[in-house]
């Protein structure tokens, strides 16, 4: 009853093409924004910030990038971990090798190098499609894993292959407290999130989706597959690269190539599919699902066990956790194959009709 757009008429295309055309949505988003920027840093304790919100924000950003490539442009990528790694290591090298390199510049440069790699590994996509393309991206993944382990120049000749950065600061403002780290990452997420949203609802986004849905038809209306695909690879790997930099610099502080292994790539892909392919919002949902659910289960199951008086071993919890996780993935897919974002919008549609069933 309350969630209706009745009476909200759009008199201009500008008004109609707002990201959230419905007033209630806008209010909701505003509230969310305030909570995210003010509420969480104030209220959340260190654990929540460090273990949940910071990874959530960074991985949302990465998932956003992956979604552009996979969800919007339809090019399945299992190499996102590699692009994160390139972002992180390139940023690291820029940061430690060039004196006085500002943090943000280093991160953006990381993104830039990830873009170069993305373009390179995007070239096969002009010929290879679908799952076959996934192999190309896996080649990128394994190659990068190997390169960062083996080429010691990338790790500034650290003997263990593990690198670290510390004492981050942004124009004199130290980024060491969890809250400041969180806000720093959130800033990236908001800026890139908005830009990505603008891209996908604009001409480039339509090109990507057109290529995804029907490439021959897209070519016939004048879209060049090469330009569309490579731009998707570029934009996606830039964002993923920056996320990689943040993951290394801000979240981990010190990392080894395994931080960006194939598992990370899979994780990002799951986020996109579970959250909703081709939906910016879906990236957030997906990241939340994949980041928070396991942690939640991990803490909740023993508590539940205690409640009924059985001590559950961590192994049993870990196994139960992945079982429940797997079952939930399947369950959500059955309820809504197009991901959580779609589930959300169907929910909204129902709410619009409420209290009538249809």
């Amino acid at each position: 009853m309350f969630y209706r757009e009745n009476g909200q008429f759009k008199t201009s295309y500008r008004a109609d093409s707002q990201i959230f055309p419905i007033t209630q949505d806008r209010l909701g988003i505003l509230a969310l924004f305030v909570i995210a920027v003010v509420g969480i840093p104030l209220l959340a304790d260190e654990y929540l910030l460090r273990a949940i919100f910071i990874p959530f924000v960074i991985l949302s950003l990465a998932a956003l990038g992956v979604n552009i490539l996979v969800g919007y442009c339809g090019q399945i990528s299992l190499g996102s971990g590699a692009f994160m790694a390139v972002g992180a290591y390139a940023a690291y090298n820029c940061y430690v090798r060039i004196d006085g390199m500002p943090l943000i510049a280093a991160l953006l440069l990381g993104g830039f190098f990830a873009t170069l790699l993305g373009l390179f590994f995007g070239i096969p996509s002009l010929r290879v499609k679908g799952l076959y393309l996934a192999v190309t991206t896996l080649a990128a993944q394994f190659f990068c894993d190997w390169a960062f382990l083996r080429v010691s120049w990338f790790t500034n000749n650290s003997s263990s292959g593990s690198v670290a950065v510390s004492d981050l600061s942004l124009m004199g403002w130290p980024i060491t407290s969890p809250a400041s780290k969180y806000l720093f990452c959130l800033g990236f997420l908001i800026v890139f999130g908005l830009m990505a949203k603008n891209l996908v609802r604009g001409a480039v986004g339509r090109e990507w989706m057109a290529i995804r849905d029907m490439d021959v038809a897209a070519a016939v209306i004048g879209i060049r597959p090469m330009y569309a695909k490579l731009s998707a690879f570029a934009v996606s790997s830039f964002i993923v690269g920056v996320a990689g930099g943040l993951w290394g610099f801000v979240h981990l502080g010190s990392w080894e190539p395994a931080a960006f292994s194939i598992d990370r790539s899979f994780q990002l892909l799951f986020m996109v599919i579970i959250g909703g392919m081709g939906s910016i919002m879906g990236s957030f949902f997906g990241a939340a699902f994949i980041v928070i659910l396991p942690i939640f289960l991990n803490q909740f199951l023993p508590a539940l066990g205690n409640l009924v008086g059985i001590a559950i071993s961590t192994a049993a919890v870990a196994h139960a956790e992945i079982m429940i996780f797997g079952a939930l993935i399947v369950w959500f897919l059955i309820v809504e194959p197009h991901g959580l974002a779609k589930l959300w919008s169907v929910g909204k549609q129902k709410m619009r009709l409420w209290p009538f069933p249809h």
Binding site: P337, V346, H358
Partner: protein, 273 residues
């Protein structure tokens, strides 16, 4: 043909069904129709009226579209069939020709047809049916070794129809069989329908936009409009109905108007809301 009154003459009885897609989109709002044994019944109606949805509901192909029958009942020869699988229905002789061809892209035309005979036990019957289909559509024979994806639209349509006939069905649900076919093939298809109907007593329920043809060959017709049946009657009566003539046959006012001369102001007639 009169409205059938003997209950057990009715093969298919659709009773007030509602269909909802995706839990929110209500498409059929209480559709009822009956198909008597050995007859040809046509569903007519504009784009989006719900013809395809009705056929999908009958053949139980709704699930794949995330659609659900939420009200009403569907009976085949007195047996409730809403919960059967499509394969069960084929076992009971009900086969649907899907709108939009849906040939198996990677299979050759012949393989497509052979797959159509999947439910048949005897190899001989498959061979006979294959010969029959090739007779109906000689064009398919010349293209038998092509992968279906690489045949023309019309060839695919023939393939889809032929594939359904391979199962020796007792009842066929035809969704826009004439779409994309050249005129003489359309004629041919309807002749096949008539032929099967008369010789092999196959019952047909067809959704068709080519109203002209449909009413010429059908015994009985239902006209649908935004998810409801708004008119039904014997085909002959419908064909003579002034409204039907004007809006579905394009011969309002007695004679055929050139497509060029039709004006584009809102002329659409709506029976209901």
């Amino acid at each position: 043909m009169e409205k059938p009154d003997i209950a057990n003459d009715i093969v298919l009885n659709v009773n007030g069904i509602e269909v909802i897609y995706n839990h929110v989109i209500l498409v059929l709002k209480g559709v009822s129709l009956q198909v008597p044994q050995g007859r040809i019944v046509a569903i007519l109606g504009g784009n989006g009226a719900g013809k395809t949805t009705t056929l999908r509901a009958v053949s139980n192909l709704l699930q794949g579209e995330r659609g659900n029958v939420t009200k009403g009942s569907i009976e085949l020869r007195g047996e409730r069939i809403e919960n059967l699988s499509p394969a069960d229905l084929v076992q009971r002789g009900v086969v649907q020709v899907m709108e939009g061809r849906h040939c198996f892209a990677h299979l050759t035309i012949e393989e497509n047809l052979l797959t159509g005979g999947y439910t048949l036990k005897s190899k001989a019957e498959v061979a006979v049916n294959l010969e029959k289909v090739y007779n109906y559509f000689p064009r398919l024979k010349t293209r038998r070794t092509s992968q279906a994806a690489y045949t023309s639209g019309g060839e695919q349509q023939m393939c889809a129809i032929g594939r359904a006939l391979m199962a020796s069905p007792s009842m066929v649900l035809l969704d826009e069989p004439s779409m994309g076919l050249a005129p003489q093939i359309v004629e041919e298809v309807f002749n096949i329908v008539k032929d099967l109907n008369q010789k092999e007593k196959v019952t047909f329920l067809l959704a068709e936009q080519n109203t002209n043809m449909a009413l010429k060959y059908a015994d009985y017709g239902y006209i649908m409009e935004s998810g409801r049946v708004v008119m039904d009657g014997a085909a002959r009566d419908l064909a003579n109905n002034e409204d039907v003539k004007e809006f579905y046959l394009g011969v309002g006012g007695g004679e055929r108007k050139s497509f060029k001369d039709v004006k584009s102001y809102k002329r659409r007639k709506r029976w209901l809301a």
